[in-house]
């Protein structure tokens, strides 16, 4: 006595595509929906790149191809007046600041996620710790930024500065870095440390010679995440800037201004986007090659 089972039919590759789709419509439909939304994410990016080399980007039409926006951005000509004009090397300062912050955040994330990630799997009640460390993922950037600002500036009367900005970036990036590290660290076989100790390794030798090399993929991931997240961070930076301007802040301010500097924003954003995508690819490649 076999119950009738409503199973998706076996799909033969010899079936015409139309029929295959009809038989398994739910799968095709789900996939299609997802890819359409991904299209909504990537179309603007793609179009951004295209428009950044177009003559009249504000129309949304790709036009006569030109590199004038990049030219303006780097070398700054006298074509347009206005303080909001991004030429004359004005992006350099924000760019350098963002790079500096990104490096600081990256290093901080690597160290912190290593320190926390190597210890956390050994603790029985990790849940509460993890939840706390993942808090910034759930709190909107402005709320967190605001709260830190109010706490330190208004509450404790600390002066804001580079340090507060770096702090904010770290707090924002750390949950991601920790997550990346935990994926690797929770797989780490603690018994290897016992074996190392058994063979004569001291605490430090165990840590540096056994644990860190095996956690390397996690460390790299944490570093990349830290760098990229800090580089593109906006909401926190709005509050913690203390007169400093990071690149995302610069772009945000510029794009808020309703004047003709927008095409330059396109060029800048394109550069950042391409750089970020490139770095992400590198990170994934490195990450995947380490995992065997």
């Amino acid at each position: 006595m076999t119950a009738h089972v409503d199973m998706p039919p076996v799909l033969s590759s010899r079936m015409p595509l139309g029929q295959r789709i009809a038989e398994n419509w739910s799968a095709w439909g789900s996939a299609a929906l997802g890819y359409i939304v991904l299209g909504f994410i990537y179309f603007p990016i793609l179009w951004l790149v295209i428009l950044s080399v177009s003559a009249e980007p504000l129309t949304g039409f790709p036009g006569d191809w030109t590199l004038q926006w990049y030219d303006d951005m780097f070398f700054g000509s006298g074509q347009r007046e206005g303080e909001a004009y991004g030429g004359n090397f004005r992006i350099v300062k924000p760019l350098l600041l963002s790079l500096l912050l990104a490096v600081i955040t990256s290093v901080a994330c690597m160290s912190a996620s290593l320190a926390v990630g190597s210890v956390l799997p050994r603790i029985r009640r990790r849940g509460p710790f993890l939840m706390t460390f993942l808090l910034p993922l759930m709190v909107p950037g402005i709320v967190a930024g605001m709260s830190i600002f109010l706490f330190f500036r208004v509450g404790l009367h600390f002066k804001m500065g580079l340090w507060s900005l770096a702090l904010a970036h770290f707090i924002w990036a750390f949950p991601f870095a920790l997550l990346a590290m935990m994926v690797v660290a929770s797989r780490f076989d603690q018994r290897l440390l016992e074996a190392a100790s058994d063979l004569g390794a001291s605490k430090w030798e165990r840590f540096w010679q056994i644990e860190v090399p095996i956690l390397k993929p996690g460390i790299f991931a944490a570093g990349f995440f830290g760098f990229l997240l800090s580089f593109n961070e906006l909401p926190f930076s709005i509050f913690m800037r203390a007169g400093q301007t990071t690149l995302p802040l610069y772009l945000w301010i510029q794009s808020g201004a309703h004047n003709t500097s927008v095409p330059l924003i396109f060029a800048m954003s394109t550069l950042i986007t391409i750089a970020s995508i490139f770095l992400t690819f590198v990170a994934i490649k490195v990450g995947f090659s380490e995992k065997k």
């Binding site: 076989d189 018994r191 290897l192 016992e194 074996a195 190392a196 100790s197 058994d198 063979l199 004569g200 390794a201 001291s202 030798e205 010679q209 056994i210 090399p213 095996i214 065997k292």
Partner: protein, 375 residues
């Protein structure tokens, strides 16, 4: 509380005195004292939870006992010395090979920690590889190795530092049967060649019998019996030992008398005899256990009374099931005092017209039901 003394002339290479260990509420070791002689192959035998692995780990330093009087290795008091400073290494059940190092680097790790030069390390590693039949695998990566090969790398890694004591925690557990049997022989061989003291943990009594100079059988955190394999095999101290060591026929009866190392036991209408191996004899009338191995039970088509005589135990029986095992045949036999099993290796010795079974008194042991002091 059990105390085991080797009584050797020279100082023992390992002493663990009065070790007690708790995991939360669970008592893993109950005031255990262990001494190992220099160069011996000592096996800690028992089921899971018996405390054998805990005892091993305490020796290695990987576990700090809740309470211990003293631990000393090669004359040196190591009670408060951590694992990385003790002169002993461990072969782990799941090998614990470092995945980011090659075979050679794994083996050399201990030497690297001791500051040996690259050339020295290489030389010693190659020697260890030879000893464990892994020559030529120096540059191999760990994930490319088979289970048996990994086990040997773990072994090589542990012996290359020339420790005073080598600890082995069920190293053959993950191997399949044929490989396991081969490795037992190799381990024994290695032991003889190196001359290092081996302390071996296993739950398999066959392994223990094959390889050990001395066996320590543990149960519930206590040492139940220790001695050479023949002692545990032929002269079990109580029913648990007999059962653990694979005695198929265990009969319960009341003790009539013990004299000259021989015991007489009344079971039902029968009076049976055997060698007393239960330590201090309990008073007459106490329940005791007769342990006789299936191999020793013989079949006869003569009546039981005809067979019964000096030094022979005989019982009338009926034939039960017959279990074919290839190399031998097990015959289940019903008697009026219980079911016994006879193991017949020689096909020609099998008998039709079965009337009785018998065995020599010399070939069975009479022993305690449980240990004299039950914790």
């Amino acid at each position: 509380m059990s105390d085991v003394t080797s009584g050797a002339r020279e100082a023992p290479i390992l002493e663990v005195i009065g070790a007690t260990h708790r995991f939360g509420e669970v008592l893993a070791l109950d005031n255990v004292t262990l001494r190992a002689r220099r160069g011996e192959f000592l096996t800690l035998l028992g089921e899971s939870g018996s405390g054998k692995t805990t005892l091993l780990r305490i020796t290695a330093g990987l576990e700090r006992p809740t309470q211990v009087e003293r631990i000393s290795i090669d004359g040196e008091d190591v009670t408060h010395i951590p694992a990385n400073k003790r002169n002993c290494t461990t072969v782990f059940q799941h090998y614990a090979l470092f995945p980011h190092m090659s075979v050679g680097q794994n083996i050399e790790y201990g030497l690297r920690l001791r500051g040996q030069s690259k050339g020295e390390r290489r030389k010693n590693a190659e020697r260890a590889l030879d000893l464990t039949r892994l020559a030529g695998l120096y540059d191999r990566r760990v994930h490319q190795l088979s289970g048996g090969q990994r086990q040997r790398v773990a072994l090589a890694r542990a012996i290359v530092t020339e420790p005073a004591i080598l600890l082995l925690d069920e190293p053959l557990g993950a191997l399949d049967e044929k490989l396991r049997v081969d490795m037992q022989v190799e381990l024994k061989d290695l032991h003889e060649r190196l001359g290092i003291t081996f302390i071996y943990v296993t739950h398999s009594q066959e392994e223990a019998l094959t390889m050990s100079d001395r066996i320590i059988l543990m149960q519930y955190g206590d040492i139940v019996q220790e001695g050479p394999p023949t002692d545990l095999f032929d002269r079990p101290l109580n029913q648990f030992v007999a059962d653990f060591m694979g005695v198929e026929n265990l009969l319960e009866g009341s003790l009539e008398s013990v004299s000259d190392g021989r015991a007489k036991v009344r079971i039902g209408a029968h009076m049976l005899g055997g060698i007393w191996s239960g330590g201090d004899a309990p008073p007459a009338g106490s329940q005791v256990c007769i342990a006789v191995r299936a191999e020793r039970v013989r079949l006869s088509n003569a009546g039981a009374h005809e067979r019964q005589g000096d030094g022979i135990n005989s019982l009338p029986c009926r034939s039960g099931a017959t279990i074919y095992k290839g190399k031998y045949v097990d015959r289940i036999l019903d008697t009026d005092i219980g079911v016994l099993k006879a193991r017949i290796w020689d096909r020609d010795a099998d008998i039709s017209d079965l009337a009785s079974l018998w065995w020599r008194e010399d070939e069975c042991a009479v022993t305690q039901m449980v240990a004299a002091e039950d914790g």
